[in-house]
Symmetry: C2
Subunit: 236 residues, 2 copies
Amino acid sequence: MNNDFSNDEKNGLYKAIFSRRDVRSHFTSDPIDDEVLSRILNAAHHAPSVGFSQPWNFILIKDFEIRKKIKDSFEIERKRSSHLVEEPQKSKYLSFKLEGILDSPLNICVTYDPLKFGPFVIGKSSIPETGIYSVCCAVQNLWLAARTEGIGLGWVSILSNDTLKKTLELPEHVLPVAYLCLGHVSEFAKKPDLETARWLPRLELKDVVYYEKWDRKENSSWNNIHELIKANLDYA
Amino acid sequence: MNNDFSNDEKNGLYKAIFSRRDVRSHFTSDPIDDEVLSRILNAAHHAPSVGFSQPWNFILIKDFEIRKKIKDSFEIERKRSSHLVEEPQKSKYLSFKLEGILDSPLNICVTYDPLKFGPFVIGKSSIPETGIYSVCCAVQNLWLAARTEGIGLGWVSILSNDTLKKTLELPEHVLPVAYLCLGHVSEFAKKPDLETARWLPRLELKDVVYYEKWDRKENSSWNNIHELIKANLDYA
C-alpha cells in the first residue's frame, strides 16, 4: 500500500509529539471551546484498547470545591514526598511548579473500569494490566489532540488515589489512572521544564534502543539503523 | 497564544488517531526503511514521562529463533485463555487472527525500568505505577508515528511475561510492557477487527463521559458540551 499521509499531515503528527509539554504554568483564563473539547475527548475515545474493551471514563471537573480537595491532596503528598530527597535537591524539588489544578479552567480524571465488557476480555487473561495500559494510550491521544488545538495539559501524579476515589465517588473497583489539568496557555515551553531546570537530561535515543536482547547495543544485522540512531536526529 | 497548528497539521494528528489499527493480518514482506524506523523510535522516545525519567527501552527483534519462542508462548496462552470462555464465543475467539509475530518483518518489545534515574523520581512517590503509564504513552506515540509512515502495528498481549523476560534476558526488575509487531501492510482495515466481527460494539462517546463525579451524566453547567457529545460526531 502506498502511504496515504501527505507530508503536511505526517508533519502534523510529529509536530504534536515533539511540541507537547507537561504544562503547569502559563494557563490563561480563556474557556475551552465546547467543540474543541468534544474533539479532544473523541480522540481519546479512539485509542486502542485490549479486546476492544474501551475501559476508560472521562470525568470533566470544573467545580471549585472538588478541585480544592484535590489540590489539598497534592499539597499533602508533595510535602510527604519531599522527605524522600536530600538537600540541595529537596529545595529545588519544592521550588518547582508541579500542578495547575486551580489555575486551569478544566480538570479531567481518566479512570479504568476493569469490569467493562468482562469478565472475559480478549487479550487480557495473560497480562491483566493491559486494561490499564489501554487507558494510558487514551490519555496520550487526549494530550496530543489538545496540543494541536492549542490547549495545554498537565498530568498531576502527586496525589492520593484514595482521596481521588472518595472525592469523585468512584466505585471500589474503578481506578483513577490520570488527573489532568487543561486550558489555553500563554506559551508552550520549548523543552520539558525538568530538562530546562537541569534536573535531568534527555537521554539519547541510542541509549534506549537494544538489538535482539536486553543491553545488546551492537549487532552486525543492525549496523545501518544503529548509525542513524547514533546520529540522534533532533526533530524536537 | 494563537494556535500554531495549520488545519492540515491538525488533521494529520486526527487522521492518525482515527485510522490507527491493531494490525494482525495484511503484513507484506517489504522491509521497513531504516530512516522511517529511526523516526518512529524517536517519536516514542519523546513521550511524556513522570519526573522526566524516560523509563523505556526498545528491543528491536528480527531473529527467527527468538520470535519462534514468543510465538510458542502465544499459542500456549491462547489455548489456556480459551478455556475461560463458553461456546459459541470460544470457537469465535479461536477463529480470530490475533498476532503477526512471524508474519511481520520487525518485532519490538517495549520495557519499563523502574530504577532509571531513581530512586527518587518526581511525581512517582504517591502513585508508583505512573512509571509504567509513561511507557504506555511511548507505545501510543510509536503506534501513531508508524501509522503516518504507512506502517502497521499490532500489540500482542496473549503472552507470558515470564517467557518474554527469559527469552529477551531482561533483568529481574525490568518489566516487559508491550510486544509489538510492525510492517508494511496491504491495507488498513476501516474499523477495528473486533468491531467488524461484531464481537463488541464501539461505545458512544456520551457513555464514557461524566460530569464532576462518577456516573453523573447530566449537569446543568455542562449542557452545551453534553449536547455536542450526544451528537457523537464521527470523525473516524
